[in-house]
C-alpha cells in the first residue's frame, strides 16, 4: 500500500527542510524522506556562515531573498538559530587583491547590487582590530553573519512538522518511476506516491537525477573545518580571504571556527571522511599569518561535511529537464547554508504555482543535460 503526499522531498538538509516547511505553509502536504537524520551532513556541520558576500551573480537574487528571511528567522521557525549579524569581511592581503575587489564592487553596483562595500585599511582595522597590519583593506557585507547550522536545520524540520509536513528519517530512496499521474518513490521502508518530487539530496542528488534520466557531473567533496577551545572575545565579523582558503569566525561561546574549503577524502556510502592534515596545517599557517594572536590557540576538533560540488560552482535549482513534476535543489558547492531558507521559499513557490518571482536563471539542470523539457 503506497503512502501518498502532495510532494515528496528527498533529503533532510537545510534545503529539504526549508522546502518542506514552505510547502506546508502553502497548505500542501509534503513528506520528507531522509536517509540519516535531518542535518546529519553538510547542513548540520558547516561553518555556519550566513553570507551574501562573494557570491556568483546567478546566486545573488536567491541570496538577497534568503537574507530577508534570516532577519526574521525566529518568527518563521520559532528559534533564533543562533543567528548574529556582525558582517562578513573579505580581507585583501595585497594592493593587487584590493584592486581586484574594487572592480568587483564597481561591477556589482552597476548591476544594482549594493550589498558589498569596499573598505580601506582604517575601516578594516575598525571592523577587525586583530587582523594583521599588512592588509590594505577589503570588502564588507554588513547584513551578513553566522548561525548554528545544526540548530537551524533542526528548527526548520521541527516547524515543518508542526505545520503539517511529515519527516521520515533513516529511510533511503531506492527508485523513482511513473505511476499514472504520480511519481512512485521506492524506499527502504516502502512506497510513496506524489505528483511532485523535490530532489534536495545533497551529495547523493546525482543518484536521484540519474534515476530520472538526467545524470549530472556532481563531485562529492568534503571540506574540512577546525574549532578551537574558548578564547576571550577578539573578533566580531566573519573573515574570509580570496587568494587563500580561509573562513574564520568566533562564536559567542568564545570558540573560533576555522574553515575555508580545504578538502578531505569523502566516502559517501559510509558517511565517512578522512582528514588531510597537511591541508589543515596550511590552514593553520594562514590563520597564523593573518591573526598573530591565534598562535597558541588550541584546536579541539576537526571534521568534514559531505557536500556536492558542481563543475561551475553554483547550484542546480529549478525544474527537471526530463521529468514533469520533478524539481531539483542541490549542488550548493560548499556555500548553500545561507541560501537554504530562501531557496526553500522559492522552491515551494515554483512547485505550488508553476513559477517564481525570484530570478533563478542560469541555475537550471539543463546547463548539464542540454535536453529540452518534453512539451
Amino acid at each position: 500500500m503506497a503512502r501518498t503526499a502532495d510532494v515528496v522531498v528527498i533529503g533532510g538538509g537545510i534545503h529539504g527542510c526549508s522546502t518542506a516547511l514552505h510547502l506546508a505553509l502553502r497548505g500542501l502536504k509534503p513528506i520528507l524522506i531522509e536517509k540519516d537524520y535531518a542535518g546529519r551532513h553538510a547542513s548540520g556541520v558547516n561553518a555556519g556562515g550566513v553570507r551574501q558576500l562573494a557570491r556568483d551573480l546567478h546566486e545573488i537574487p536567491l541570496s538577497i531573498s534568503s537574507m530577508d528571511i534570516w532577519e526574521r528567522i525566529e518568527e518563521l521557525v520559532g528559534d533564533d538559530c543562533g543567528f548574529g549579524a556582525h558582517g562578513t569581511v573579505l580581507v585583501a592581503e595585497s594592493e593587487d587583491e584590493l584592486a581586484g575587489f574594487r572592480e568587483r564592487v564597481d561591477d556589482l553596483n552597476l548591476r544594482g547590487f549594493v550589498h558589498e562595500e569596499l573598505i580601506d585599511a582604517a575601516e578594516l582595522r575598525r571592523l577587525v582590530p586583530a587582523v594583521s597590519d599588512r592588509c590594505p583593506g577589503g570588502v564588507v557585507s554588513r547584513r551578513d553573519g553566522a548561525a548554528d547550522p545544526f540548530r537551524t536545520t533542526q528548527a526548520f524540520r521541527r516547524r515543518a512538522v508542526e505545520k503539517g509536513a511529515e519527516v521520515i528519517e533513516g529511510v533511503t530512496v531506492t527508485g523513482l518511476s511513473r505511476s499514472g499521474a504520480n511519481w512512485r518513490v521506492e524506499t527502504s521502508a516502502g512506497i510513496f506516491e506524489a505528483p511532485k518530487i523535490v530532489n534536495a539530496a545533497g551529495a547523493w542528488a546525482d543518484r536521484i537525477a540519474a534515476m530520472l534520466g538526467e545524470p549530472v557531473p556532481l563531485a562529492v567533496v568534503a571540506p574540512m573545518l577546525m574549532v578551537t577551545s574558548r578564547l576571550p572575545a577578539f573578533i566580531k565579523p566573519v573573515v574570509i580571504l580570496r587568494g587563500r582558503k580561509l573562513s574564520f569566525k568566533q562564536l559567542d561561546n568564545g570558540t573560533v571556527v576555522i574553515g575555508g574549503g580545504h578538502l578531505s577524502t569523502p566516502y559517501r556510502d559510509s558517511n565517512e571522511t578522512v582528514l588531510d592534515w597537511e591541508k589543515l596545517a596550511i590552514s593553520a599557517r594562514t590563520v597564523w599569518e593573518l591573526f598573530p594572536a591565534m598562535h597558541e590557540a588550541t584546536i579541539v576538533r576537526a571534521w568534514a561535511g559531505i557536500e556536492a560540488y558542481m563543475p561551475d560552482g553554483i547550484p542546480v535549482v529549478g525544474r527537471s529537464s526530463t521529468s514533469e513534476g520533478v524539481f531539483h535543489q542541490f549542488g550548493f558547492s560548499t556555500h548553500g547554508f545561507q541560501l537554504g531558507p530562501g531557496t526553500g521559499a522559492v522552491m515551494a513557490e515554483l512547485v505550488a504555482t508553476g513559477s517564481t518571482n525570484t530570478p533563478i536563471d542560469g541555475l537550471g539542470i539543463e546547463r548539464f543535460t542540454q535536453t529540452p523539457l518534453p512539451r
Partner: protein, 469 residues
C-alpha cells in the same frame, strides 16, 4: 630525547600506548625484524598499571606489591628488542589510511604505518555524584599514580568510595606506605553477589581469587567500611565533607580528599576517531571495539589490544598485545620466525577466566552511573544531568544531536568523562538501549593540539601546489 624531526616518515608497525599491551606487542614485533615505533604520551613507559615502572621513587617493593613489579620485565624486554620507544609523544590522529598524527615537544608529524596497534588502555569510569567536580575530589587511580610516579601518599582526612579491585589495591598500598584512610564507602550493590556467584567456580581457579581475598582482609582490618547507596561531595571552593547514606542512615565525614572509583572502561577515543566499530557490552557496561580473534578491528590494518579491547587486566593485556603483534608481523613479513601462538592464547584464556565473576560483582550501581538533577554530567561544559534528561525527553535521540544542543562532549576531554553517562541517560529517558543510542562520533585531534603545532607539520611541495587557488 627523540624529537619529532628524528622520526622516519614511515614504520612497518606503529604501536600507540606504552602499557603492558603496547610494550609486549612492540617487543615481539621488533624481535621478529619489523621496524617498530611505540608512542606514549607519558615521560616513561608502563601505562597506568605499571606507571613509572622505570623511575618510581617507591623502592620498597612490598608497598606497591609484586604484580606491579612484573611490569619491569615488560619494560626491559621492549627496550632490548630494538623497537623505537618514544616518550612524551602524543598521538592526536589516526585514520583508515593508517596515517598517524603525533606531536613531540610541540612539533607535529604525520607518520605512515604499515600496521597499527592501538594500545591506549583503559580509563576510570565516570563517577558523577553531586560535587564530583570540586577540588579535592579525585579518582583512586589518580592517587595511585601519584604514589607510583611521585611517591606521594595521601595525608589528612581521606575517604575512598566506590567498588572494584583497584579501590582495595590502592587502599592496601596506601596503608603500607604509611598513609591513613578514614573510611571506605562501598557502593557494590548487594544483589551483584547473587548474579556473580554462578561464575564463582571459574574465578576460584584464577590467580586473582586468593590475591583478592588477601587484599580485602588486609584493608578491612584497619579501615572502617560502610555500604552506601548515595554519596555527595559537599563544599564550595573545595570538598569539605562527604555525605553518604546506607542501611545505617545518613552520615557525614569531614574530608580533604575524596577518592572515587567504580571500575575502568576502555579508552575508546582514538579507535572511535579512526573509524573502528564499537558495540555496547552490557556485562561490562561500556562500549568495546568489534574485534576478530587476532584483535583486528573493523578498519583493516588497525588492531586494538589490551584493556582497550575490553577490560581484562594487565597480564591479559600483554598476551593480547602479543597476539595482535603476531598478526601484524604475519601480514608484514610472512617469513618471520614467531613465538608459539597457542601458548600465548592459553595463557590469555587463563587470565580471562574469572572475568565474568569480577564483572558481575563489580557492576556499578545504576544510581552512580545515571545521575539526576544538578549533578554535573559533562564536566568540561558544565552540563547537568537534568539538562541531558530533559533534552532526551524532548526528542533528542542520540549523543551527537545532543552535542549540538547542549555542548556536552564538545569540551577538551572529548567525552571521555561524559560519554558513557550521556549515552546511558538518553537510553534511560527514551526507554531504549545504549546500543541503540550509540556513542559520540569522535573526530581527531583526539588530544587538543595548538595551532602552532599544527602549523609546524611539514608540508610537501605537492600539497602546497594543490591548494593554491
Amino acid at each position: 630525547m627523540i624529537a619529532a624531526a628524528d622520526l622516519a616518515s614511515s614504520y612497518e608497525l606503529v604501536v600507540i600506548g606504552g602499557g603492558p599491551a603496547g610494550l609486549a606487542a612492540a617487543a615481539l614485533a621488533a624481535r621478529a625484524g619489523v621496524s617498530t615505533v611505540l608512542f606514549d604520551e607519558n615521560p616513561g613507559v608502563g601505562g597506568q598499571i605499571y606507571r613509572a615502572i622505570t623511575s618510581t621513587p617507591v623502592k620498597d617493593r612490598a608497598i606497591l606489591g609484586q604484580d606491579y613489579w612484573e611490569g619491569a620485565a615488560l619494560a626491559d624486554e621492549a627496550k632490548a628488542s630494538g623497537a623505537l620507544i618514544v616518550n612524551g609523544a602524543t598521538v592526536w590522529s589516526l585514520d583508515r589510511q593508517r596515517l598517524v598524527g603525533v606531536s613531540i615537544g610541540g612539533k607535529a608529524r604525520v607518520i605512515e604505518a604499515g600496521r597499527v596497534i592501538i594500545a591506549t588502555g583503559s580509563q576510570e569510569r565516570p563517577f558523577p555524584i553531586p560535587g564530583w567536580t570540586l577540588p579535592g575530589v579525585m579518582t583512586a587511580g589518580a592517587a595511585q599514580t601519584a604514589l607510583k610516579a611521585q611517591g606521594l601518599v595521601v595525608d589528612g582526612r581521606t575517604v575512598m568510595a566506590g567498588s572494584g579491585p583497584l579501590l582495595w589495591l590502592l587502599a592496601a598500598q596506601t596503608l603500607r606506605a604509611g598513609g591513613k584512610i578514614d573510611a571506605i564507602l562501598d557502593t557494590t550493590p548487594r544483589r551483584n553477589w547473587l548474579q556473580a556467584v554462578v561464575h564463582l567456580p571459574d574465578f576460584a581457579l584464577s590467580p586473582y581469587f586468593a590475591k583478592g581475598l588477601a587484599l580485602l582482609r588486609e584493608v578491612r582490618a584497619r579501615v572502617p567500611v560502610h555500604r552506601v547507596g548515595t554519596i555527595e561531595a559537599v563544599g564550595t571552593d573545595r570538598v569539605r565533607e562527604v555525605v553518604f547514606s546506607g542501611s545505617g542512615g545518613t552520615r557525614r565525614l569531614p574530608v580533604d580528599l575524596l577518592l572515587l572509583h567504580q571500575g575502568v572502561v576502555p579508552n575508546v577515543n582514538l579507535a572511535n576517531a579512526a573509524g573502528v566499530a564499537h558495540l555496547w557490552n552490557d556485562r561490562q557496561l561500556c562500549f568495546v571495539p568489534v574485534l576478530d580473534a587476532d584483535f583486528g578491528s573493523s578498519v583493516p590494518g588497525i588492531a586494538v589490544a589490551g584493556d582497550g579491547a575490553g577490560i581484562a587486566g594487565g597480564t591479559a593485556a600483554a598476551e593480547r598485545g602479543r597476539i595482535a603483534a603476531i598478526a601484524a608481523v604475519c601480514a608484514l613479513r610472512p617469513d618471520a620466525t614467531l613465538p608459539d601462538t597457542q601458548a600465548i592464547r592459553q595463557r590469555l584464556q587463563r587470565e580471562e577466566m574469572g572475568r565474568a565473576f569480577l564483572d558481575c560483582l563489580n557492576r556499578p550501581a545504576d544510581a552512580f552511573r545515571l545521575p539526576a538533577g544538578d549533578t554535573i554530567a559533562c564536566r568540561c561544559e558544565e552540563v547537568t544531568a537534568r539538562q541531558v534528561r530533559e533534552t532526551a525527553q524532548m526528542g533528542c535521540e542520540g549523543p551527537n544531536q545532543m552535542k549540538a544542543f547542549l555542548r556536552c562532549g564538545m569540551g577538551p576531554c572529548q567525552g571521555r568523562l561524559c560519554g558513557l553517562t550521556v549515552t546511558e541517560l538518553i537510553a534511560a529517558e527514551r526507554k531504549t538501549t545504549p546500543d541503540e543510542v550509540g556513542y559520540y562520533r569522535l573526530r581527531p585531534p583526539v588530544k587538543p593540539i595548538t595551532l602552532a603545532e599544527l602549523a609546524s607539520l611539514p608540508i610537501s611541495e605537492a600539497e602546497r601546489k594543490a591548494v593554491e587557488r
